[in-house]
Symmetry: C2
Subunit: 851 residues, 2 copies
């Protein structure tokens, strides 16, 4: 690589590099190459700026020699990435008595005074670091100019510098030093800048915008930044400089407008030129640009062009439009949309432009926003939904019995819990906006009041807004933006699918979930948790009878009543999924989750079961566990009370028979939860195989199925080699696996997770971002050992991590067949997987874009 | 190897092998070689017996040819191991009319009738399988003999066989078939016999014991089977055969005795011969033997010699005595004592010879037995102990607040819980006999009644006996045997220590534990759980103040009051351990364990803290956890509330200073619990190092210490490589590690563990026997990765598995430095470790003993 010059004039052939001179210098060179009317510009590379900051002088005279005998110039920052900020632009360097006299002649005294005063103000405050208040003297005129110069001299004990070279040197030094300041450093690092991020500077001839004829400045863009639809947008202000047009109310429209004068009226040719320049930029810079321009006596200069700031939905629309127009490839269009940005498009959002009356803040647990009336119980939520009134369910925390209420509510707020609490997990699954762990509010369930930290109190029926994207809870109904599942969205994701090389399934427990999964084009259901099916009121009663059954026969009788309901569940799921694979996890939770917790509930149960309260209470207590997460659940229930799994297997197979008879055969996948030993799988398999044979024999219909294991215990991962002898697939349940690998309950981790992440004990909440080092190693061990036994083993991940780009990347590298995630994360996962596949393609890796 | 003959006469040089002909044949050959008067004997190898069972005839005539023209013989079983049982001995084969006539001549009619009748009875019931009742005709005489022969003929439709060859063939066939029977098979397999275990048979010339002159039979041994002390024991019965002397009350003593006649009186020379034969056997067979002998007309025959059955304490005493006498080596003495047998010696035991009134059966959770009066609460236990009345604490289950009560009680019974429940773990640590999960009894805590399955009801103050060795709970005070920590015990263990190559430490939380550890010669404390120190009433109050402190300052103030108490704890421990290493685990349990659970307790707490009940209740509720095992405990507390660990570290270091000043310096080992990430160790280490520096500076005393990590989460094992960067030692807490690897709470596993072990899902309860495949792999991974980082890393295991021979074997193979176990398991561990080391020694491996 050539040695970089101390500074370089920006010409089409000059050696200007983004990594040395910064994004602005490179962009200006592109504009020059496109023959846009860019004023003379010199670029200082980072190396030079660093040397200036270190105290080494720069040859300002030599720089100035590029700008004629009486130079008037600006200096702008040019870091490698525009997001990294930088010191403010300094205009009108070179203003001194001589220049002032010249401008009085050419542009009149008023303009000359204004320009000089502006420069003195900027220089005094930003370069000499004097008190800005002393230089803010209202209207610019000869008096205020004189005052400013005098004040400068008094404070600095020397006259205001007259020498343009001295002025430039000082401006450059000041800007170079500002970049090294602590706050600037912290600010840019927060935006993702590396520690060694450096600053380039751009010295440009001033295009005045103040003077004779049509003079002024403005900005122009060609796209709506919120919608992404084509639209000329911007402002123009006569007799102005820099970005004044955006700040002053006197600015006028660009396009012809009934509401007032426009640039198109005043200077139709210049307007047409700008439109043309915009089109050239879009085509050649392959991006929607905002143009900063100046008109000096009817002559147009383009000072700068930057990528248009845009909303997530606009970004997607623009990328698709550019690809449709052949400006960029589909690969590039896919890469230009950040996967995480998609979630914004899937749900209604609070319009950020409107006022926000936040009364509580919590953890953003499920994205999107919703407005509704407060309810404090699952029953009230269902009643509200039945009345057609949107409601927000507010609870201390949620339990499985609240699921129907969560279904009925448009949003959920809990006082306790973390990002993987019950409420959060279920809400994400349902796509219901949710804020959990809302500190600063207190719930009084008895009085049915919600008390905010500021003392405000809300009751049942009061209108609030949940913003699950930010974690805010707002009083009243906030302004909303509708979701954006339009053609562009579908088109981009279909392109993503064509690049993707790992399967994406959805976790779906209900027909509604399954429909969402289909809407988002999931390739099947990777995890259907069957226990949620037993919380319907009519089923819950039978479920409890089953739990209290004294004999295997009584238990089987209760289960026989659940069988047709369960079969109907599966028929419905299979029908919605239309032949796509459906992986059904057998019953998992501890039985006590199905029992009432209150004394009142127990009394009702005793009545319903016609047993003494004391007996019901005693047996409910006997079922209680110290650590339910590590107790009698999953396959342990399946082994000890085999009737439950038997009923489920029968329901699945009978549903498969029904589908086969309807001409749409399915191959159900049955998954055994919480396995820790091979023999557990053997026992369940023997049972399930026998039931399959019996259903085949009785129905006379042939069907196939797959039996697999959910790997949730470290031991199952370690013993995957032998477990795979009896399993057609292994699916890693990383929620539980993370809990057990860390010895950390996700329900209890909220209390210290913040401290832990802040102190860097965990780099991230491992329930949120897969712990690659620990849990990840178990995934690799499990997959490798499983496949060593059975090379055609299907390996996947389900659970909350499934939708994270990082986890998808990990699973893809490990050769997993698919990931399964909440239905609402499926689009994100599809896009993230495409990004990962594209990142491995050499032809794609070298795409460079304006950022 | 030579082909084995179909049968072989036992001579000193005959090819008689234990694996072919069985233990009895081999033992008889040894007696022959020792020149003992053994009657003519022929051995049939297993191969021959199997062939007979399969229906192939044996050449009985050829066998009989060894026994003269009118043979009278017996057949006895000779399996490879005497424990495996076998068909009953058949005597007097060859009895027929001719033999009868001969015996009438030589021994008189009465004797001849008795012998013939006996043979007919045996033959009819065991060989012909006729109804025994029909042949049990009271006094043997000519009538009853005739009746028996007639009855045989009627039932079998053929006369009683006269041909000795036919008789022998039938007896051999019958015995060979009996061995193959299902119940015999199950019985011997229960005793550890392999599936392919085979039977040898021994055919021996009858030494009559009935006849002229001094005739009779008896058994004799030279040792007390309960104490192991030298003592001639046995019985002799004139005119008897087989083991009649042991069954009939007419039998007489062997040695001279005031209570009646003795063999020594009747036949002093024969008696002297027997004593001499016994001494020869002990010396040459290197074992204490019981001799079966017959005297026929003053002529002594030794028919058989078997190893004396013995209690555990006698076994130990005999082994030590044999080694002291130079009969066996110390290595062999050590190997002859089963480690598990030791636990019987450490505690008082229920005397098995006495009657047992069992009213409940549970899991034998802590060995030994105790008699005491029932108490139902910790308070009552303490009050009882204060009155000097031994008490048995009976609880539904125990919690940390019950520990003082368990200390005070002599035994513990719980209705719930498994072998690793709180009660079980603590009781083993305390060496208190304990039965948990006592099904078949029901506790009514309100009425303070304990109701047995048979309806009997026990109240506070009623006397019961806990047998923690068998799991029985007995009504009343059972007969007891005192523990046996005598010189022989100490001597054997000191020999074991000289062979052992892995360290043995004790888990000890209290001075009493530490004293026990020293008594059993543990090489230090491997795990001192400090939390138990905070349950003393005066400390508990301060502890609760600390928990409810609003600020770090208030928390520190409460801890400052705990500091001197904690320091005193450590001074005492260090003094007892006298320079041996003491590994102190920092505070581990969740804070809510220190709060009262009842409403009454909360009210008292509110009063004590002078805070409103509502606030105390709310905060206690807020501390509650869904899965305490996986919650805010261990190092998580240490990171979030660093004041607790700071106080403990200061107490440890100040105690070390005090010891150093007394001239007995210690190097405390500080262990961090529940680590899952390296950074946790870094944070605690920085704190602890700073406190060490401050204590050194303030005291002016130099001391050293080691900081290490308790590996209890799978992640800590996987990340041991980086964790070892900051840890001088890793100690695997296999209790918690097992819980997390299986996703299985030991407190909740009791509900299905039995089913699981019965169905072979788990080969053993993994909380009882280390799961080598899963948890074991994590141990290996952790040790290997830790040592790769730090070759001098000390690696150990603590927790319940530490004392199991299997676990010790595993840790020894993996190169662990030590295991740490309950103080009362230390002797067992020392002996088991010696066995393992000796098993690897080639010179020891070939020792063969009589078993």
């Amino acid at each position: 690589m050539q040695k970089i010059a101390e500074f370089a004039e920006i010409t089409p052939s000059a050696d200007i590099r983004r990594d040395a001179h910064g994004w602005r210098a490179k962009c200006l060179q592109r504009l020059v190459r496109l023959d846009l009317p860019v004023p003379e510009t010199v670029a200082l590379p980072a190396q030079t700026v660093r040397s200036i900051a270190a105290g080494h002088p720069v040859d300002s005279k030599a720089i100035l020699s590029h700008f004629g005998p009486i130079p008037l110039i600006s200096v702008r920052p040019s870091p490698e990435n525009p997001d990294w900020g930088g010191p403010g632009t300094v205009l009108n360097i070179g203003m001194n008595a001589a220049q002032h006299a010249r401008l009085v002649d050419t542009n009149g005294r008023e303009a000359a005074d204004a320009l000089y005063l502006r420069f003195v103000q900027t220089y005094a405050t930003h370069v000499a670091r004097l008190d800005p208040d002393m230089f803010d003297s209202g209207t610019p005129n000869a008096d205020s100019l004189r005052d400013a110069l005098r004040h400068y001299e008094r404070e600095m004990e020397e006259p205001f510098p007259e020498d343009p070279a001295q002025q430039l040197s000082e401006v450059l030094r000041s800007m170079a030093r500002a970049w090294e300041g602590t706050s600037a450093r912290l600010l840019r690092q927060a935006k993702g800048a590396p520690v060694e991020a450096a600053l380039g500077l751009v010295v440009q001839e001033m295009a005045q915008g103040i003077g004779q004829g049509i003079s002024g400045s403005g900005v122009m863009q060609f796209i709506d930044p919120v919608t992404g639809l084509p639209l000329v947008k911007g402002r123009y202000l006569g007799q102005s400089q820099g970005r004044d047009a955006l700040k002053k109310t006197e600015a006028i429209y660009l396009t012809r407008d009934k509401r007032g004068p426009s640039l198109e009226d005043i200077a139709p040719e210049i307007f047409a030129d700008l439109i043309r320049h915009g089109a050239v930029c879009r085509q050649k810079l392959r991006e929607e640009m905002q143009i900063e321009f100046t008109i000096e006596d009817g002559r147009l200069s383009v000072l700068d062009a930057v990528k248009v700031q845009r909303s997530a939905r606009a970004g997607l629309k623009i990328a698709v439009a550019l690809a449709d127009d052949g400006v960029i490839s589909r690969e590039e269009a896919v890469l230009r949309v950040e996967p995480r940005a998609l979630s914004e498009l899937l749900h209604p959002q609070v319009d950020m432009r409107a006022a926000r009356d936040v009364f509580a803040k919590g953890i953003a647990a499920s994205p999107g926003a919703a407005v509704g009336r407060i309810v404090f119980s699952s029953q009230a939520a269902q009643a509200s939904a039945a009345r057609g009134e949107p409601c927000i369910m507010v609870r201390r925390e949620t339990a499985p019995e609240d699921i129907r209420g969560m279904h009925a509510a448009v949003g959920v707020v809990t006082e306790r819990g973390g990002v993987t609490s019950h409420a959060a997990v279920i809400a994400r699954g349902l796509g219901v906006p949710c804020v959990v762990g809302a500190s600063g509010m207190r719930l009084d369930p008895k009085e049915k009041r919600l008390i905010a930290a500021d003392g405000r109190s809300f009751g049942e029926g009061d209108l609030i807004t949940v913003d699950g994207t930010t974690g805010d809870v707002l009083a009243g109904a906030a302004e909303m933006l509708a979701p954006a599942l339009d053609d562009a969205f579908r088109k981009l994701l279909s392109w993503a699918d064509s690049f993707r090389d790992i399967g994406i399934r959805a976790n779906a427990d209900t027909p509604a979930d399954a429909a969402t999964a289909r809407q988002f084009e999931a390739q099947g259901i990777g995890l259907c948790r069957t226990e949620h099916m037993f919380f319907d009121e009519d089923r819950l009663v039978v479920m409890r009878e089953m739990i209290f059954a004294d004999t295997s026969k009584d238990r089987a009788a209760a289960l026989a009543r659940l069988l047709p309901m369960q079969r109907a569940d599966f028929v419905q799921l299979f029908e919605i999924m239309a032949g796509l694979p459906v992986c059904i996890r057998l019953f998992d939770p501890p039985l006590h989750e199905f029992l009432p917790h209150s004394r009142e509930g127990l009394r009702e149960l005793a009545e319903a079961l016609d047993r003494p309260l004391s007996e019901v209470t005693r047996r409910a207590e006997a079922l209680a566990e110290f650590n339910p997460m590590l107790g009698m659940r999953g396959v342990r229930l399946g082994v000890v009370l085999p009737e439950i799994y038997a009923m489920q297997a029968q329901a699945i197979f009978e549903a498969a028979v029904e589908l086969a008879r309807k001409g749409t055969p399915v191959v159900p996948e049955i998954m055994i939860p919480l396995v820790s030993a091979k023999r557990e799988v053997e026992l369940v398999k023997a049972h399930v195989d026998a039931i399959a044979a019996s259903v085949r024999a009785k129905s006379g219909v042939a069907f196939d199925f797959k039996l697999g294991v959910m790997v949730e215990t470290p031991r199952a991962a370690l013993r995957a080699g032998e477990i795979a002898q009896h399993a057609a697939f292994l699916s890693f349940g990383t929620n539980d696996l993370t809990q057990m690998t860390y010895g950390l309950s996700r329900d209890d981790a909220g209390r210290f997770m913040n401290t832990y992440v802040q102190q860097g004990v965990f780099p991230e909440d491992p329930f949120h971002i897969l712990d690659v080092d620990g849990v990840g190693e178990l995934l690799l061990i499990g997959a490798e050992r499983g496949r060593a036994t059975r090379p055609d083993l299907t390996v996947s991940i389900c659970g909350e991590h499934g939708g994270n780009p990082e986890s998808i990347g990990f699973c893809r590298k490990a050769g997993f067949d698919y990931v399964s995630c909440s239905p609402y994360r499926v689009p994100l996962a599809r896009l993230a997987a495409a990004h990962l596949a594209l990142a491995d393609r050499v032809d794609v890796r070298n795409i460079t874009t304006i950022s």
